[in-house]
């Protein structure tokens, strides 16, 4: 017994070192589960507050860029206004009711919630953004995040007042996307090389791809609204081993200057996810 105590006393540093290393590796490997815990939520709240202080000061330098983005977005929205479309005199004017529910039984599917970006990285392999809007303000896990210019990422963790977004520039991020002109769908990923470019995989060789083509979100994505801009084709190569194109996509959103984003809630997300996750009964 005495020897055991002597052993522990002699090797306390080595034991402590090994214990801490194991703690680190375990934390790293079960990243997503530990974030459920209270501790992670609390630390998210603290780092969010620190980031906010810094951002209050830093945002002044970016006001010009934000104004440009908002003006561009306003122009786009104004062009879509109903009053811009005239109806020929011979027909009756059709009025679209934008209420929650109208007589044609249309339901609202998406809500847009504005949020301020208070923290963001682009230089790592696993990039996240921190938003100053949390579960108390209606943000839930799995909601999509878009900027005025293009999509940004998906909410992965939520605390009371802050939320953390896995940006498109994350090695594990995957978003369903398609070519705007002929609806060929594939998936957008990031290869970790350059934060200005994403890769679009699984586009069939039948598609007529040209440089400069727009890439938008596809109809198959549960959390993103369809046909939201992602980027433009910068370059494309044929993968000789498969029947698919590899497209290099220039991001529409500028991840270096993100200031305000929209968190998009799909009201029917839970219902769709539940249905997709049920096992088909015939296969048992």
């Amino acid at each position: 017994m005495k020897n055991i105590f002597l052993f522990i006393r002699n090797y306390i540093n080595l034991i402590c070192f090994l214990a801490l290393q194991i703690t680190c590796i375990v934390m790293l490997s079960r990243n997503s589960q530990t974030h459920e815990a209270f501790f992670a939520s609390a630390s998210n709240e603290i780092t969010g507050k620190v980031n906010k202080q810094f951002d209050n000061f830093y945002s002044y330098f970016r006001l010009q860029e934000i104004n440009r983005q908002l003006t561009a977005e306003n122009v786009r929205l104004r062009n879509d206004l109903q009053s811009n479309f005239i109806v020929p005199d011979s027909s009756r004017k059709i009025v679209t009711d934008s209420l929650n529910k109208d007589s044609l039984n249309r339901y609202r599917k998406f809500y847009y919630l504005p949020a301020k970006v208070v923290g963001s990285t682009v230089t790592l392999q696993t990039n996240f953004l921190t938003l100053e809007r949390g579960s108390l303000q209606g943000v839930k896990k799995g909601m999509s995040v878009i900027s005025p210019e293009g999509i940004v990422g998906v909410v992965t963790e939520v605390s009371d007042n802050y939320s953390r977004v896995m940006s498109l520039l994350h090695r594990n991020s995957k978003v369903s996307a398609m070519l705007k002109k002929d609806n060929n769908a594939g998936s957008i990923e990031w290869d970790g090389v350059d934060p200005a470019y994403l890769t679009l995989k699984n586009i069939s060789k039948g598609a007529q791809v040209k440089k400069g083509d727009s890439i938008v979100t596809s109809n198959y994505s549960a959390n993103f609204p369809s046909r939201i801009m992602i980027g433009t084709v910068a370059d494309f190569t044929v993968d000789p081993t498969t029947n698919f194109y590899n497209l290099k996509v220039k991001t529409a959103a500028n991840f270096f200057t993100l200031q305000y984003v929209y968190v998009v809630e799909n009201v029917r997300y839970a219902e769709q996810a539940k249905l997709e996750n049920t096992k088909p009964k015939g296969n048992e």
């Binding site: 402590c16 703690t23 680190c24 590796i25 980031n51 230089t123 392999q125 970790g192």
Partner: protein, 176 residues
């Protein structure tokens, strides 16, 4: 200023510089990520308790990890270099004279060559382990080798610059 207070201020400053300045530097190349935060561990006093050194480095790395959203990724290499540090210091400096007359490792207290070797070895070990963990997550051997070399070179440059900019007074410890 007392050593404890000085190190608490350094703790906050190193984290702030790494999170708000260096992590915001536009990437020049995928191999180059500017890391400087671990210099905090290199600058800790000679006479710090080894057990406490490990715990402190773990807490330091974990603080950075919560800002970058990767718990454990930076804490693991920090604990590694904190474990190696006392052995390396024992090898590199004449025990009796230096540790009794100087507070912490610096160019003045250790001399140019030993201090450079000390900084280089710990920087290399830190990046080797950090990139190894990243590499196991998403492999590619060229990426592994290139990133270690690129990042080590940039970190050494940053350490060199900060040694020049913030000349630490190599204060003699008096008997009083």
């Amino acid at each position: 200023m007392s050593s404890i207070l000085k190190n608490i201020i350094r703790f906050i400053l190193f984290i702030a510089v790494q999170v708000f300045v260096l992590n915001n530097v536009p990437p020049l190349h995928q191999f180059i990520v500017p890391y400087l935060y671990f210099l905090y561990i290199l600058w800790l006093p000679f006479n710090i308790n080894r057990f406490f050194l490990l715990i402190l480095s773990f807490a330091f790395g974990l603080t950075l990890d919560y800002f970058t959203g990767t718990p454990g990724l930076h804490a693991a290499p920090c604990v590694l270099i904190a474990f190696i540090r006392p052995f390396l210091l024992n090898l590199l400096i004449p025990q009796e004279t230096t540790e009794q007359s100087y507070l912490e490792p610096s160019i003045k207290s250790m001399g140019w060559a030993p201090y450079s070797l000390y900084a280089f070895l710990l920087t290399f070990l830190h990046h080797f382990y950090l990139v190894l963990i990243e590499w196991l997550q998403f492999g590619n051997f060229l990426y592994f080798i290139g990133k270690i070399l690129g990042t080590t070179a940039v970190s050494l440059l940053l350490i060199f610059i900060s040694e020049m900019l913030f000349f630490r007074k190599a204060r003699f410890r008096t008997n009083a």
